[in-house]
Symmetry: D2
């Protein structure tokens, strides 16, 4: 299979709304991908709407927006950002109405949950002999916990209490530099899930719920947009492209992140996850 590479401009023009993945598409470990601001200018000039769908739940939407604005993308406001953390938070709002929520992560991330009016306690401070009040466990998407100690504690909590366990990010690892990755909460929570042998509730692409949430945002934005008018742009076949395809969107794979240019054709064939388009990057020159 030889791969036809399309110019991103020619592709994007056919749609009314663009869903972007963040990491590997708009930014990488060094910061914004050079020239990506021109893409947002093009979208504005051509009256094309957009949203950013990210499995990054380590920061609130307003903090995520801050990042883009400081980097010079002033149009990226809180409203434009859909994170798996928002889904986890929505779950807690709807399903956990009393008791205390134990969390694995930093106090800063937990603040986001506390805003719901629920009591929270970090796993670190939890006394395993006083757990009757705990009504849910949340695996937050950042560090700030003691691996050796806190992960065992969450394991034992879940062996004793039949309560929901919520995971804010499905990614198993994340890039920390051009060459290195680190284990992410998606990987850790999967290990705990297998050991306790219970079903955790995980939020993030490729799950449909992420796309639904973004789609509802797009509709609320006033435009009556059909699924056929939306393009999902991502760098990862198994999350962005698979999820976008299943939700009924057209999809474009860009080669600036997880999928290396010389491997793209092979991976598409091997996985059977087929984007509508392949573009070098999401940059419009």
């Amino acid at each position: 299979m030889s791969l036809k590479i399309k110019s991103f401009e020619s592709v994007v023009k056919k749609y009314k709304t663009i869903f972007f993945d963040a990491y590997g598409v708009l930014k990488n470990h060094k910061g914004l991908i050079p020239g990506i601001n021109q893409t947002f200018q093009f979208l504005a000039e051509n009256n094309i709407d957009y949203f950013i769908l990210t499995n990054d739940a380590s920061r609130s939407p307003s903090e995520l927006a801050d990042y883009y604005q400081k980097a010079g993308l002033h149009e990226v406001t809180e409203f434009k950002l859909i994170s798996s953390g928002m889904l986890a938070r929505e779950y807690l709002r709807l399903k956990v109405k009393s008791g205390t929520i134990a969390y694995l992560g930093t106090d800063k991330s937990a603040h986001y949950i506390e805003a719901l009016g629920l009591k929270t306690i970090s796993i670190q401070k939890l006394d395993l002999s006083k757990i009757d009040d705990i009504t849910a466990v949340v695996f937050l998407d950042d560090e700030g916990f003691d691996w050796n100690h806190d992960i065992n504690k969450v394991l034992n909590l879940l062996r004793r209490r039949t309560i929901p366990a919520i995971v804010c990010n499905t990614d198993k690892s994340y890039p920390v530099s051009k060459e290195e990755v680190a284990i992410a909460i998606g990987g850790i929570s999967k290990m705990v899930e297998e050991i306790v042998d219970k079903k955790f509730i995980r939020f993030g692409k490729p799950d449909a719920q992420m796309f639904v949430y973004a789609y509802e945002h797009a509709l609320n934005n006033g435009q009556l947009v059909d699924k056929g008018d939306i393009l999902m742009v991502g760098d990862t076949l198994a999350t962005d492209i698979l999820g976008g395809n299943k939700f009924g969107l057209d999809t474009a794979l860009v080669l600036t992140g997880n999928t290396l240019p010389d491997r793209a054709s092979f991976y598409i064939q091997a996985t059977g996850i087929i984007p509508n388009y392949v573009c070098e990057s999401a940059v419009i020159q």
Copy 2:
């Protein structure tokens, strides 16, 4: 954990809309569950809306509605029925716009797809030397195919062509009598998926998309309904309850199907999938 059993009437009264699973809740291998018509009467009298969410994609919504009407539930119209087949069909409408769709199943089920205006061919009639025009494979949710011959054919088709494979029902088996089950398309397609080692696109509970579709139906029905006002009623923890919970709905487990009364408490603890309520049945006397 001792299980508190609630009367279905007392539970149902708290909600504006009920989502029912079909098999094991409203009907079983013998037909409608005795007394279930009273439940629908109660819903009508109390102005409670409802939808039926089923992984049964072997028949079109209108045929499914026929079944309920002939059995005496005249209020169950096509509009009330949400099947995984509808999602598969929606996927095909949005994502497959040319070529021929190969299908595993009966001509009757395929008719449902043909209504989209797409060319179709049964795997049985497919000539493996002429497959350049095939743009998707659909695993339909019924029999009517030659196991020994057609499954090998679909396997070889998917080894040669990089095209999407769509599965209309995630269930791995289905009950054929009180004691016996049969392998369903969810099981067969999983076997083929593992052998070709590609990612298939599967529709059905517990996937969020099923619940989204039903939720949109509920909204279109005119009532402004919040997720907190919807109750999902099912007999299976891993599909109905897990899916309902994750989507943010309250959930009620009934003991007339897959989950036996003396096992319910154990399975809830073992799986960590926790319904808001447990009721003996969905029958209101």
Copy 3:
């Protein structure tokens, strides 16, 4: 990683005993691989012992030997052949001492089991209302059963009776021509195993037991052979090479079967399954 290809002759000379995989190494869908007889001549001349380890359990060792002898490899006797079926048979001999064994497959394959003195019945003839005497189920490695009917029957038998289920071949598919494969008993039994959610007992590479059996054969052959003196030759990384490595043998990958020459380097890197040598074929010219 660039792949160093070694001549098979230079590799083989370093070892006292060679373990060969059959399909893809010694033969393919057309028959013996051209020139392979010279390899056996070389082994004889250099006093190198050998055994053939195959996941093919559809025929008895004596029938397997017949195949090689008719094809002109007169030195391949029954004693030289180790099949996963022999392990399954050994299991039955040791562990099932009474009752009737139900089997999925042809009467001919079953004959092999009957030689143990156990009563057998084909799933086809089994009456599901008379199953109290059934003490084991065997998934034989051949066809001769009705997919649609018999597989459902074995599924329901295993739901009712807590008895061991033995699988004679782990392979999920097998080649039927240069381009086409067919689903094998390893795939079918895996599907049934997942649906009944019990643990089956599976025999075949890469499982250590296969290699142990061959190793014991080699020892019984009179030669005092150390594991370090044995080379495993195979065409499949995930069975032959992984199993050989784990058992402590040196391993050689040949490129005449499952692993295509232009993919070998990539697959070794991707899987982390590393043969000591890569050779074009097992033919010595």
Copy 4:
């Protein structure tokens, strides 16, 4: 299914050799199981041989033997102990002949590997820019590493180098008190394996290799013992009993460890892993 409980004495008398699991059978978090010394007296008096098969690779056989001797079981010598660590060590001896072995764990455990004459380096001290000499990674079965830091390092090492990764214990967790467990190297290595998506080499029950090793020990002990004369005694269906059954041994489940008395019958039915006998404990009074 009602469970027939047999006296351990009546069972044990039928065999020439007993294979014991250690944790949950001979000892628990408090030390030796009270009365177990009488069992060893009985074995000696009746000329029944025995071996202890343990997935505990955190100590060398001689250190493990020390434990039993200090606790008063003077007959348990190094020769009687078969650990998964011995298999891992055997693998390294046979398959890794040059370079440096990187390990996750304490220097004390590594000493065990160094005795092979191989160079070793702890992951902690490894410089990721100097890894050309690393020829294998070993996940040792103890702690002594920095979770947060060293696990990421091993992950990045395995992304860059195509080298074998060996795991010394398959257990995913281990008990630290009556109520609490901790994550074990089997769980951590599984997480890393899934993230790098390569095949690791894992040693421990239920894998056949563990039983082979013990069986060879039994043979070397001078007695000509048939598999039918060996009884495997364990507290865990999925490792001890499954592994013993598959290897062709008779098996006895004891209820002093992982399998609770009131759950035994249910788990046997649910898993289809069937011991020949169920005994309250391995104690002979």
